[in-house]
């Protein structure tokens, strides 16, 4: 049972006379991609180079789900960065809060999964509300530093393992017996994949809806010029806090999905590097665009995984040390790629098509 899995259903063969029809068709490409993604677990199509096994195999589904998860996370993070102009360096905290809080409600309180998940999400959102209301008292880069400090505090707290709650450097595995059976085990990877896909759709939907709402208009104003928003008689603080809490809540849901997907909470998700990688994804894809952050997140996660495999492969091991050492470090490659994108491709990948179309006009 095989379906086409290349996510580019562009009908290039359409005749030029049917231009309007074509553009109308093109508007439906997200739905087509979504359908393809939904049926992907039933596909046995091998994608050499992109994935290790066939699309429907558990390993590939796990990687695809991770990619989608980070695509969604980056989209949620862009609510702050690209839509409201807030450069938060503490987004990892709310992601980790969703994961760890849910895990602790399961492990320590022995609550059923649904209750633990709900409480975990509430904890993450409440944390975003409290810390956001403190951090937003400072503006500009001061805000970035304060969010970074809070996230670092969370990271320290998790790694010190207070009362054996967080499991320290090891992290903590989720209790398999308390989770619904259809979410546990390698046979049910497809279910986890669909949950991740649902999370992605939810995030895209919420961000799309929020940005088009009246509040979203104010966010855009704050991003462009906060002083002018104040002059209009609006208080930016409340709007910024709304964006912060909404992004934090979305990140908490992401943490919950991550908990299910990886079967536990790991302290790597609390580090500032985690937030920085979200930042890299958003900027790579194109901050402030609808699809850019998602594309950046998917691309980054895929590259991170595949570059790690590349580093271990024989082709790299035979290279001279000057080339081998940098190539064996995915973070080095991604860091350099990021600097290159910032320099050469302002607006990220999402702006690439229009830049290719009008190479002259875009130059200032």
């Amino acid at each position: 049972m095989s379906t086409a899995t290349t996510p580019a259903p562009t009908p290039t063969a359409a005749p030029p006379a049917a231009g309007r029809d074509r553009s109308r068709l093109l508007r439906w490409w997200p739905a087509a991609v979504l359908v393809l993604l939904i049926v992907a677990p039933y596909s046995a199509l091998p994608v050499p180079g992109l994935l290790d096994g066939p699309v429907g195999s558990p390993g590939s589904l796990q990687l695809l789900a991770t990619c989608l998860l980070f695509g969604a996370l980056a989209t949620g993070y862009d609510l702050l960065l690209g839509r409201t102009g807030l450069l938060s360096f503490g987004h990892a905290l709310y992601f980790a809060a969703g994961s760890y809080a849910t895990n602790m409600f399961l492990l320590e309180a022995g609550l059923p999964f649904a209750a633990a998940a709900a409480l975990g999400l509430c904890s993450g959102t409440a944390l975003a509300l409290v810390l956001g209301s403190v951090s937003l008292r400072v503006t500009g880069i001061g805000f970035s530093m304060v969010t970074l400090a809070f996230a670092q505090a969370g990271s320290i707290l998790v790694s010190r393992n207070p009362g054996g709650l967080t499991g320290g450097e090891e992290g903590r595995a989720a209790p398999a017996d308390l989770l619904p059976s259809w979410l546990v085990g390698i046979d049910h990877t497809a279910n986890l994949y669909w949950i991740t896909l649902a999370y992605l759709v939810l995030t895209l939907g919420v961000v799309h809806w929020a940005v088009r709402s009246p509040t979203g208009r104010v966010w855009e104003g704050i991003k462009e010029n906060e002083r002018r928003v104040e002059v209009l008689g609006l208080k930016p603080y409340g709007f910024k806090l709304t964006a912060f809490v909404l992004a934090g809540a979305l990140a908490s849901v992401g943490g919950l999905v991550h908990l299910l997907l990886t079967g536990g909470s790991t302290p790597q998700t609390t580090t500032s590097d985690f937030t920085l990688s979200l930042l890299v994804m958003v900027v790579l894809g194109g901050s402030g665009t609808r699809w850019g952050p998602m594309a950046g997140g998917i691309l980054y996660t895929w590259a991170d995984h595949r570059l790690g495999d590349l580093a271990g492969s024989g082709a790299v091991a035979e290279l001279p040390a000057v080339l081998r050492v940098p190539l064996s470090q995915p973070l080095f490659l991604l860091g350099v790629l990021f600097v290159a994108v910032v320099h050469l491709l302002p607006g990220g990948l999402a702006r690439l098509p229009s830049r290719l179309r009008r190479p002259r006009k875009e130059k200032k």
Partner: protein, 295 residues
Amino acid sequence: MSTIVLLTMTGLGLGALYFLIASGLSLIFGLMDVLNFAHGALLSIGAYGTWWAASGHLPGAGPGGWGFALAVLFGTAVGTLAAVVLELVVVRPLYTRPREQVLATVGVGLAVPALLSGIWGSDARTFPGPQALSGTFRLLGADVPVNRLVLVAAAVVVLVALRLFLGRTRHGLVVRAGVEDRAMVTALGIDVRKAFTLVFAIGGCAAALGGALGGLYFGSVDPRQGTSLLIFAFVVVVTGGMGSVTGAAVAAVVIGLVQQFANYYTAAGLGDLAVVVLLAALLLVRPRGLTGRLA
């Protein structure tokens, strides 16, 4: 009593390390509005440069006596050079886009530690140091490690040198004026971009020196060291008021002491938390930091 003396000296040593990082960060931010996320990488470069030289790779340098001094000098010089290259190659082309400047330094801050761990491995390496600096000395009944004193002395020297440079020289005047109002300095016909490179060089120099001496303090170097110190340096910069060197010095001492005492008298790790709570409390009371300057 001896515990308090030891904790105070350790806290001061840590504060000195924070100051060495934060002074450069603060100046760079004050002048250019760039939060330099690659500053931790500069510190790591200084630490690894010193370690490399002191391990006998540089002729004349070694783990003892003047050889070590040469190694520190080498590490600091490499760090300074790296900072200048960073400014010229990565930051300068983005002059009109301050946010992208920050993002570019984030990329460098990710890439450099990865490269270091690619070359020398991600595990901590033992840091060689001269015999004279690895011992202890008695102060008010406590055995205080000498390296704390070295760090404090280096920080004081850097503070005095920076104050003299900023207060007594023409370049320092341009930097101070630039922190105050960059547009006005440019309007007066002064090329502020030279001051940018200068400030990056100074910051890189101080951070690399901090890395070299931090190796003594921790007894080892590892690629992640700079990044983890950077975060506390950020706390120092915000607390001290951005762009102020003296504010950074005061804040560094306060943060270092609070962290040490809280770590000792409460559970380990709580001191690191206490620092952040302190920052939050301070921002609630005075949103502009200790010296009341926030761009």
